[in-house]
Amino acid sequence: MTEQHPLGLSIQNLTKRFKSDTALDDVSLDVPAGGTLVIFGPSGAGKTVLLRCVAGAIDPDAGQVLVGGEDVTDAPPEQRGVGMAFQNFALFPHMTARDNIASPLTAARQSKDAIRAGVESVAKLLKIDHVLSHAPRALSNGQKQRTALARALAGKPKLLLLDDPLRNVDAKLRFEMRLELPRLLADQGATVVYVTQDYKEAMALGDRIAVLNAGRIVQLGTPAEIYQEPATTDIARLFGDPTINLLDVTPERDGGGAIVRLSDQRLPLGPGFEQTIDHPCAIGLRPEALSFTEEADGVPVTVEAETPFNEKIVTLVTTLRGREILVSRPTGTPGPREGAARIVARPGAAVLFDRETGARIPPAPSDKAQTEAA
């Protein structure tokens, strides 16, 4: 730990094929030392394969894996100095929880006392010190998950790989761990790569999120960037609950700039969207970026149904042409329950996508910015 390489993990042009399937297609990623990267994507996207290539359980066809600046592509798993928690826990069924957790320490040939102390401190941290003498089959799912996590942490690895560790635990425990994990991981000081299919986990845990789909990284950014400026309609749909409203629109010229029409009401797109005029687009509006209004310039809609959740109320409304829109508002704020209403979008909250490719259309830099850049 004396001189730490600035990059905790560097993946360069990693490719892995299984027969004709390409599981990873030229993936490159850098994680700064001590940082947390979440790899997010639907199942079958190649998340687990990527993690296994880093751990050494799968040999990539091409590309390099560098841990702390050191090329470990050809190194066996035991020499990579990583810790890993598996989605299916992968506990050693014939060993007690204590021996499971101790396995990285026995590999390092530590003294008996050191092993004991190491196991106990990490077990206390994860609140499983009372079940250390149990065999894995005698543990609850939550305890198994914590044991698997403790085993990954026990060796104090510089790089920690967590393969959807909360996938197989119940909702309550998942919520608890989502709160507990960020602090736990920060205390370790390790570089963390966390794989998940749950966007809430991704947003809660990652400094940065890499969205993986079909073996390619489709977007890499901070949680806020991915939420507010999703690169594609697919990503926009995967992040957020209730799901983003995506409406097919064709921007029109109106005065100086571009506008779209919802229920015949003008919705200005703001500067920089002139190039989208007359181009088939989809507009993305987050339900929480919409609100009901009394103003006459609001978009007229009909309230269809209301679903109250604990912390928010989601209302389904339809436009004049029957297009469905979800509006979310915090519980306790007033809103119409039925009949006609008007909604308004928070300025700048709309995201525009190309309808054909699904890719986000960023606003063109203004003339002023362009001349400055030149």
Binding site: A55, R80, A90, F92
Partner: protein, 285 residues
């Protein structure tokens, strides 16, 4: 748990008793025969009224067979010892060779691995007589005929495929993630094999070893052709009781009792493993 009507349970019990009788009666009869003299055995009609005698066992153990034609030397205890030696050594060698091979076939799919594994299994398909003649000829050439080493080598045809295929199934049932986890924790593959794969496949290895032992013990044809009297196991040795002056049923029965005793004891002791080991290959859970 069992909601079947009374008569159905009764019927089931009777059927079970019939099956047990059918299979156990020969063993019972052999036991009875082994404590009778040839005269009482050959009485007609047979009768359960007889004076039990241990003279058959005595003859086997002392190696002196008294018949009407005179005294005959038999080497039954030597045969028994040969059986133990051949079976134990064959199974031990087959385990040493077969378990790592089974692991390799289960975990590393290399070019032709399926073909090699299947070829090894096919040794069990071939009738032993097919290979015996050429084997005899070249064993004589290379000096392996009538040696323990030669027999143990040939016994690998029986033991190795059995162990390989049963143990391979057990290794395949272990989640590879468990082994990955141990290696990522910092252990070498050898220590992963010893500490994770071997203990987890333990029941399967025990079952396969046991089965191989029984098959080796019961083998007849290899030793009959390839070994002379002093290297022969009990299965072949029992032939010695077919003498010029008649068949010594009493001694044969006693010999059979003595020769099935070890395998029967082993099988009873490890029943659970055996059933598991045999059914696991058939129904992968």
């Amino acid at each position: 748990m069992d909601h079947a009507p009374i008569w159905e349970r009764w019927l089931r019990g009777v059927a079970l008793i019939l099956v047990v009788l059918f299979f156990m009666f020969p063993i019972f009869w052999i036991l009875v025969m082994s404590v009778q003299t040839n005269e009482t055995i050959l009485r007609s009609p047979p009768s359960m009224a007889f004076e039990p005698t241990l003279q058959n066992y005595q003859a086997l153990i002392t190696g002196k067979l008294e018949t009407q034609a005179g005294s005959l030397d038999i080497a039954f205890m030597q045969n028994l010892w040969n059986s133990v030696l051949l079976s134990v050594c064959s199974v031990a060698l087959a385990l040493v060779l077969g378990v790592p091979a089974a692991y390799a076939f289960a975990r590393h799919k290399f070019r032709g691995s399926e073909d090699i594994a299947f070829t090894l299994l096919s040794f069990r398909f071939a009738p032993p007589l097919l290979v015996l003649l050429p084997l005899t000829l070249y064993f004589q050439d290379i000096g392996l005929a009538d040696t323990y080493v030669g027999l143990i080598w040939v016994y690998q045809l029986i033991c190795l495929p059995l162990i390989l295929w049963i143990v391979r199934g057990y290794f395949e049932d272990i989640s590879p993630d468990i082994e990955h986890a141990y290696r990522i924790a910092g252990h070498s593959w050898l220590s992963t094999f010893r500490r994770i794969a071997l203990p987890l496949a333990g029941p399967g290895i025990a079952a396969a070893g046991l089965l191989a032992f029984i098959f080796a013990w019961n083998n007849f044809i290899f030793a009959l052709v390839l070994a002379s009297a002093d290297k022969q196991p009990v299965t072949v040795g029992a032939l010695a009781f077919v003498t010029a002056s008649g068949i010594q049923y009493g001694q044969i029965a006693a010999a059979v009792v003595l020769s099935i005793a070890p395998t029967l004891a082993l099988a009873l002791y490890a029943q659970r493993y055996l059933v598991e080991g045999l059914s696991l290959g058939a129904v992968k859970g």
